[in-house]
């Protein structure tokens, strides 16, 4: 059976958020373009379930699978990659993996790891925020869950931007677990504590940014205190268009869902030999788009109003260098 057509597999954290829903759509679109079977796996945040599901799919397909995964936790990547290599299935990981696990340790099955530079983009949104308040004043920051790697990186980016702008003071940092409702209550309490000292709010994702915007709106401050998010979900883009958020970053999850599979599929079908690819293509940063007032309308037309058009064969078009460790 290993000679037959491979099954395409996307494994994600959950389907109940827009980010992963778009990722899944990308995977579906790619599978449709090739007419291959497509399976989605969801970890529901449970590492054990994520690993068990991968094992199950490997057992079911006899290893004839191409897997694109956003591991639930960095730690999950190793057992998953080991299982894939053992079953001779090709895999691309995204976002999370332990620093000491490398694709070239498992040639040719561990094709690549794709991530986005959280520090870079956390800094980028912070810069837009700082700029929008004229480089002076107090800002607040909403983080994701404390131990999450992207959350940590994005916060590091924020701190870099603040360090570069002595006029800016980080009044407080709180985590809102990526949730808008928690962000709402946190920002409300901040308004009590800091009042007019609040010049801007930086959030590690769009959901929390939306919660912040709404908390500001409830106090008649929406649009007056600039907010930034990250992720580029539709409601975030809408808020940028409305001027209530000043920036977000789009990772293009549609691209992640499609191209992760495309890269691994290309390796499986022999279009390239991973072992011969440079490291910059094995541990690769993708390109995010910082969406701000300047480019939001164009972005909206190209990506939200229309389904993004991708060239599935352009494997490295968005490669932005090798991942730092």
């Amino acid at each position: 059976r290993a000679e037959g057509k491979p099954t395409l597999v996307n494994s994600l954290r959950s389907l109940s958020n827009p980010y992963h829903a778009a990722w899944n759509k990308g995977g579906e679109a790619f599978a449709k373009s090739l007419g291959l079977d497509y399976v989605t796996l969801v970890t529901e945040g449970d590492s054990e379930k994520g690993i068990a599901d991968i094992r199950a799919i490997l057992a079911k397909t006899g290893g004839n699978a191409v897997i694109n995964i956003d591991p639930n936790d960095a730690a999950d990547a190793r057992p998953i990659v080991e299982a894939c290599a053992k079953a001779k299935a090709h895999i691309v990981t995204q976002w999370n993996k332990p620093a000491d696990l490398h694709p070239w340790d498992f040639d040719p099955y561990y094709v690549a790891h794709v991530s986005f530079d959280g520090v870079l983009y956390g800094e980028a949104t912070a810069k837009v925020l700082i700029e929008s308040i004229g480089g002076k004043g107090g800002i607040l920051a909403l983080g994701g869950t404390l131990s999450n790697t992207p959350a940590i990186e994005r916060k590091a980016g924020l701190e870099k931007a603040i360090a570069a702008n002595p006029g800016i003071k980080l009044l407080d940092f709180q985590v809102a677990n990526w949730q808008s409702s928690k962000a709402f209550d946190t920002v409300a309490a901040w308004i009590t504590r800091f009042g007019a000292d609040i010049k801007g709010i930086w959030a590690a994702n769009d959901d929390m940014a939306i919660g912040a915007v709404e908390a500001l709106r409830a106090e008649g401050l929406a649009g007056k205190v600039p907010v930034t998010g990250i992720d580029g979900i539709k409601t975030g883009i809408d808020a940028v268009r409305a001027g209530e958020m000043v920036a977000t970053v789009s990772w293009d999850p549609f691209w992640q869902g499609a191209m992760g599979l495309s890269i691994a599929y290309a390796a499986r079908t022999g279009r390239f030999d991973p072992a011969k690819e440079p490291k910059a293509h094995r541990e690769v940063y993708g390109t995010g788009v910082v969406v701000s007032k300047a480019n939001v309308e164009a972005f909206y037309k190209a990506n939200i109003e229309n389904e993004p058009k991708l060239d599935y064969n352009d494997l490295w078009g968005r490669a932005a260098g090798q991942i730092r460790t």
Binding site: L15, S16, N17, P18, H20, A21, N24, G143, L146, D172, F173, Q174, V175, N177, Q179, S180, S181, K182, F184, D185, T186, A188, A189, W190, I191, T192, R193, G195, D207, I210, G211, E214, R217, A218, I233, K234, T235, D238
Partner: protein, 326 residues
């Protein structure tokens, strides 16, 4: 009868009264404590913010109170919110977009329907409520995800957003809704037959049945009522953050049950009530608000909150009355 026993009873009752008011004292003490260290806390605008933050948990906890009073537990809170919020946003954004406020009763109906399913499975199949509602938690989240394909719908309908953005006598409508829900719940609990029967079933359902109370029906009604409250809370959440998706209810379950228990309602059933719950909700809301005002670092917030809640419950539980605590 001798004097000794009657006056002993007197002392006993006095103490149990004191214990009953303990959660209120804890709340007041907490407010004073935070107020002293962070004077802004006691300002009017912050009072309004605390009430706003308490409004959604309040409605959720009111629903859960009834379930806990009959001796059950409802874990489906988050699933129910997801489903109801998505029904709301679909009705608003779908072909029926002009329905406006009418989407609200539909969402509440969706919540009530899920409650009815809980009650029917619990009573009809004789499955512990813990397990039924654990199951329907997944079912609700799943249905919500299916209906929306995982996306988010923005809610722009002004009449819905008004629930969060319009103020009446200085308070957002959300707070008024929570207050109205509290009033309705209190009347139901304290002044209606239904309320009496809820306590009877929670006290001892076999004995209640002997007095001719239809235990099964009361339980189903309780789950429906709870579901309707969750549906209302879903509407409020969606109105507050202006979007509906399967994640709007995330993290609500444990805070809800915590609030109920902190208020002094016994998880064994039959004891406590919605006024107690209201105080419990306020304790939890004040604590959350206070921790940010005091600038307690995120690392230790959960721990601090946990310890405070242990303290609050330990102070207010009357261990003479509740010898057996499970």
């Amino acid at each position: 009868m001798s004097l000794a026993t009657t006056s002993a009873n007197h002392g006993e009752r006095l103490r149990s009264r004191l214990r009953k008011t303990a959660p209120l004292l804890v709340l007041v003490g907490l407010c004073i404590l935070i107020g002293v260290t962070s004077p802004n806390f006691l300002s009017l605008p912050n009072g309004i913010r605390v009430l706003t933050a308490a409004s959604i948990p309040m409605v959720l906890a009111l629903g859960a109170t009834f379930v806990i009073l009959v001796g059950g537990i409802d874990l489906s809170v988050e699933g129910n919110i997801a489903l109801s919020a998505i029904v709301l946003s679909l009705v608003l954004s779908g072909p029926l977009g002009t329905l406006g406020l009418w989407a609200v009763p539909l969402a509440i109906l969706a919540g009530a329907a899920m409650g009815a399913a809980n009650g029917a499975a619990h009573v009809g199949l004789r499955i512990p409520s813990f397990m039924v509602t654990l199951g329907t938690w997944f079912v609700g989240l799943g249905l919500g995800t299916v209906l929306l394909g995982g996306g988010t719908i923005r809610i722009v309908e002004p009449s819905i957003r008004a629930l969060s953005l319009t103020r009446f006598v200085g308070l957002p409508l959300l707070v008024w809704i929570a207050a109205a829900a509290l009033l309705v719940a209190w009347v139901l609990q304290a002044r209606t037959r239904f309320g009496r029967h809820v306590y009877a079933v929670g006290g001892a359902e076999d004995l209640a049945a002997l007095s001719g109370i239809r235990v099964g029906r009361i339980k189903v009604l309780v789950f429906i009522l709870a579901g309707a409250f969750y549906g209302l809370a879903a509407v409020m959440s969606a109105a507050q953050i202006g979007q509906g998706n399967a994640a709007v209810g995330d993290g609500r379950l444990f805070t809800t049950i915590t609030a109920v228990v902190v208020g002094g309602t016994s998880l064994a059933g039959g004891d406590g009530g919605v006024i107690e719950t209201a105080i419990g909700v306020l304790i939890v809301a004040v604590l959350a608000n206070g921790m940010i005002l005091l600038g307690i670092p995120p690392y230790v917030q959960q721990a601090v909150q946990g310890l405070m809640i242990i303290a609050a419950v330990a102070i207010s539980i009357d261990h003479r009355l509740f010898r057996i605590v499970k």
